[in-house]
Amino acid sequence: MSGATGAGGGAMGSAGGPEETAAPLLDVRELTIRFGRSAPVVDGISFEIAPGECLGLVGESGSGKSVTSRALLGLVGAGSHVEAALMAFASPAEPRIRAGEDHHDRPEPAARPGGSASHAAELRVSASDTEDNPHETESGADRGRGSGSGGAGLAGDARPSTSGSAGSSGTSVLDLRGLGARAWRQVRGGQIGYVPQAALVGLDPLRAVGREIDDVLRLHSRLTPAERRAHVRELLATAGVPEPELRAVQRPFELSGGLRQRALIAAAIAGSPSLLIADEPTTALDATVQAGILTLLERLRDSGTAILLISHDLAVVSRLANRVAVLRNGRIVETGPTRQILDAPQHPYTRELVAAVPTSRPRGSLLAGSATPAQSSSPAPTPALMLPDRAATSGRSQPPTRATTRSSTTTRAPGSDREPGSSESAAPVPAATRSSMPGSGDLGGRNAMPGEGTEGGAGTGTGTGTSTTVLEATGLGKWFGARAAVDGVSFTLERGRTLGLVGESGSGKTTVARLVLALTEPDEGEVRLLGEPWSTLHERERRPLRPRIGAIYQDALSSFDPRLTVGQILSDAKSAGRSSRTDVADLLERVGLAASVAAQRPRFLSGGQQQRVAIARALAPRPDILICDEPVSSLDVSVQARILDLLDALQHDLGVAYLFITHDLGVARHMSDDLLVMRDGHVVESGPTEAVFAAPKEEYTRQLLAAAPRLGAYSPVPRSRLQ
């Protein structure tokens, strides 16, 4: 099929006419998307994609990435208004697979006069939706309830208006603004493939995977069922799915996440479209899996399929995209070749994003820039002043090689609140914590002598500092049935230090956490807390000790009692509900949240804020140890950066020891003094973080490191773009 795409490419080349620069496959001008009467979610963005090119659309939640991708499929959803000066798609007149239904949409001018004439053909989407409230968050658009019928209802009468008669020249340019329902159905899957964001739920749980792929062929080809069956197997194979014939008959729940994603890609390319829209194709996948998927997409790109890659993860984008467009609050703030964007980001926001990527940012460096207090809802007393000293004075030994990177990245820019509509504090928390509030004072005080606190903070890098062991696990083992979730895991954790625990899902990280928290009894080995027996105790005896060890989770929200307000949660945590309002205020302040948040319910906070509340709760009983189970995995990169900074600062002030569990090597490297690499319940490798990263001993560790996406793995920009 690569041959086929090649032909398509050729056709397009010829379509381009004489001039050298290939005609863009997709040309979007001033695309604006609004829901209801609210402010536009996407605000006049323009971009174009050349055949065989990969454009990376980077942005955080709510930046309007997904909505944009939907607009290109006519699936924006209910009550939406999509306007554009131009939405031209150079579609091959003849689909590379013969279309099932009569495909020749007779070229007519868009039925609505203004349609193609006026430069803003507004597509009203008839809502089959029961509610069409405006929603700006990505997830809001995500719901896209009835969006299909929205598509069906698109300017119902409008027939596809194509300039140039079909067939006569190699390509005809489709005006995506004026397409009728049937025409859209031809485009979707047939000419524009879509790899949905929700990799794990993007397949109908009740149907065999093969059927889903088969649908595409059924819709866009005249193949006989038998041929299709064969083709489906081919496609699965192409998508790198092992044992395709088995997988084809299996249902999604029988497949791993990676396989599901591959199946989805197989479905997306089944119609051998000339453009592939991949919306967060690797989110929520393990590093190695992610790597695999990216390689696959790479192959597709190289075989001539243009890709619109949408991601919040710069690292992912940098791996694949020839060019990057940085999207923020529905506007493209910067666009250009990947290399240029990464090396010399112009726009502050871009810089910030780049900086926020923890990958290969060693311990102690700061990820998040500061925000102008104006935009942060919570009082952020003079952050700018505090930060540099901290960054500078933190006497942590850094490999000189890193120095450059650091300086380049820690350059502060007048960044601002990254989360539209949220009151996520941009205040770098150290400020808050440093500011000598009574709360913080006594916190620091009771924990250890301030001296020790800083000392612990400072000494962690070298590990030479005199530090006491707060947590000690010896030969932990836990079996579920025959399978060993954890086997022979031993480690020690010292006050004020961070032990990183990395590994892919199923490696037993979480089980270790549960064992350490004494939520499950080990079948083997023992956990000692502050030198005292811990795992061996009875829950009753354990209870008085519990305040010494806290935990924060990936899904902070679900760890809050839905009935309680933030205030209740915190006072609850501090002293079983008997603590005063001021305590709560202090706690909130300490994690950089406004006291006003106390009155709210967690579910109405942003993810970052939720995590902050979780941290505040964990700190309330003033623990010596904090178990952090993937605390930032589901957060946007900039938010993640600030949370990490917060944790860093808190540790520095309070000398809390972290057991930091993550699947993200970058985060692990950034956060931890020592590293523990787990696989299938066993510790594969352990040692000082930098050492492990510098010279991994084990093969598996090497694989992990290799798989980990990092900035700077640029893809060459294709010729056509270069001049």
Partner: protein, 296 residues
């Protein structure tokens, strides 16, 4: 058992659906009540008044007979007409509200009470208790619909009390199963674990977190249940196994008026209408609450 399927948390994902768009929508939803719920509330308010102070709406004795103006069609002075003994049907229906609602509520209370006992036992008790209780429920479920009720009635004889208990009894297994699954879900909820990590005693977790959260759903179940209980109880009265004429219980009125259906439709129509009203209103309200609960 005869609880309604809506008592289930089926398709709970609507919760996510409503939650997905995030705080903005959720809060919006918090403010605006759906029209249906508003209507339901109005109807219920009316019924409540009718149940507590019937004389406010319909002064007069529901049992007072005026043979001379029997079988009057609905008119100005007899809104719903009169029955075979010249009793004003409107008055009877209004005064019957108390009996009917009481039966419905009591039955639901009995059902939920029993359900609570078994459900919590199964949800919180040790494995073997759970096993035992679940088996017991399986058995109870094998008496589908009114069967349990009828069996109960054949043992203790017909009457208002027995029929009420019977309905309650036959709804109990449904509630029990739901409460059990609710309890199990809440018990495994991360926030309970979090509370444990904070070193809270199991009693504390039970009383401060688990029970209140289970109670939340319970309320919804109750509202949804009352409607069905009313319908079933009235069905029993209609079959002559519950309240007996001349008591103005709706089901009983219906069965009395049934005789005259071909000549005097209003005798059956209005009591039935009120059954539908009350059942429908409670259901609508319950659904509304469900949505709101999920929205949050």
């Amino acid at each position: 058992m005869i609880s309604s399927p809506l008592l289930s948390e089926g398709a709970a994902s609507r919760a996510e659906l409503d939650r997905a768009p995030g705080r903005r929508r959720a809060s919006a939803r918090r403010r605006a009540l759906p029209a249906t719920v508003v209507i339901a509330l109005i109807v219920l308010a009316f019924l409540l008044v009718a149940a507590i102070w019937p004389d406010l709406i319909a002064p007069g004795d529901p049992l007072a007979i005026h043979p001379r103006d029997a079988f009057q069609p609905p008119s100005a002075q007899h809104l719903f007409g009169t029955d075979e003994s010249g009793r004003d049907i409107f008055t009877r229906v209004i005064h019957g509200t108390q009996a009917s609602l009481l039966i419905g509520v009591t039955a639901t209370a009995i059902g939920i009470g029993l359900g609570l006992v078994f459900g919590l036992l199964a949800g919180l008790g040790p494995r073997w208790v759970d096993f035992g209780t679940t088996r017991l429920l399986e058995v109870m479920f094998a008496f589908p619909g009114l069967l349990l009720a009828l069996l109960f009635i054949v043992i203790y004889g017909p009457g208002v009390v027995t029929s009420t208990i019977a309905v309650g009894l036959s709804t109990a297994p449904g509630y029990a199963r739901l409460i059990r699954s609710q309890t199990l879900q809440v018990r495994d909820a991360p926030y309970l674990e979090a509370s444990r990590v904070l070193g809270r005693s199991s009693v504390y977790r039970l009383t401060r977190h688990l029970l209140p959260n289970v109670a939340g759903t319970l309320f919804v179940l109750a509202t949804l249940g009352v409607g069905q209980s009313i319908v079933w109880a009235s069905a029993l009265s209609y079959l002559g196994l519950g309240a007996v004429p001349p008591s103005p219980e709706w089901g009983a009125m219906l069965s009395a008026g049934r005789t005259y259906i071909t000549s005097f439709w209003w005798m059956t129509f209005f009591p039935g209408l009120f059954i539908v009203l009350s059942a429908g209103a409670t259901t609508l309200l319950g659904r509304g609450l469900q949505q709101r609960k999920r929205a949050s």
